[in-house]
Symmetry: C2
Subunit: 180 residues, 2 copies
């Protein structure tokens, strides 16, 4: 749950960061920014701002905007209705992103697990994305990601997005947003 | 066929336009810019500069860069190997794009068919894309597009790209590039 004031602050920040990345939204898109707090009630720590450009049965593209150190919780994309899970490529456009995926744990990683939720962040192989860097995540790969100290803007190119089907490591998470 | 000098000029222009759009490439990507002249030998009139970020069996993302009035010839994406044809969304990031698709012809369109190739441009329903505007083209829809007077940078979000299977209206076109 987030408050209307939080929502408005986060939308304003989203527009500000997109501007720094040179990304233009239409007026309609500015009115449809999604703020995901994952039902955890600490959106500035665990949350994500999302602009969905297109999401059809076959193809999806979004911009993801993140506050400094804001974290998208660990999850994976399972098969749905007999189709393979979502495949997604994250491309950093502005700022820095620390992405964690299945694989050998990175010693001395740059990111910090959100305080109080550490046990729900298990994968620890770090991929650092600076502007122009990208990484593709194939279905069934657990992953989480965190913005660096400036925040981040990340383009996501993917197959169909069905966020409501994502499997989160943290059992408290509800993907559908609630704004009060 | 394009010359090495043309290729180098077009790569430099591509990097310049991407810079104006705030888009960052890695060093490796700068070395892999595709210049498509469609075998017509008039790349500055009918041609396209392309950076492919990702192209898997399911998903593709590119940046398309266009000189002022440069035109991507009319084509459509047919089914391949029993899969529906490519679905693509064009999102204008910088400059202006005049996109033409099947539909009622637009009176007094902004674009101009390339001189000497007019008969190979048949669809005439105009969609003008300014930064932030986008349009989705479903399989089997003939389309062509032209940059406005400043040139353009366009993000393409799509299903798998198999350019060699595209069906062009102009029978002279060869999609595979030749650099001399």
């Amino acid at each position: 749950m987030i408050t209307r004031d939080q929502y408005e602050f986060l939308c304003k920040t989203t527009e500000d960061y997109l501007g720094r990345a040179g990304i233009v939204l239409t007026g309609a898109e500015r009115g449809q920014i999604e703020v995901a707090d994952f039902g955890l009630g600490e959106v500035e720590s665990q949350g994500l701002e999302i602009i969905t450009y297109v999401n059809t049965a076959r193809c999806c593209a979004k911009e993801l905007v993140m506050l400094p150190m804001q974290t998208c919780p660990e999850h994976l994309h399972p098969p749905v209705d007999g189709e393979p899970g979502k495949e997604e490529t994250f491309r950093c456009r502005w700022g820095t992103v620390y992405l964690y995926v299945d694989g050998p744990p990175t010693q001395s990683p740059s990111g910090v697990k959100p305080v109080g939720s550490e046990q729900h962040y298990k994968v620890a192989h770090e991929v650092v994305l600076h502007p122009g860097d990208q990484h593709t995540i194939f279905p069934g790969t657990a992953h989480w990601f965190q913005a660096g100290p400036e925040g981040a803007v990340v383009s996501e190119f993917s197959t169909r997005s069905r966020d409501e089907s994502d499997t989160f490591t943290d059992p408290r998470i509800m993907r559908a947003p609630e704004v009060v």
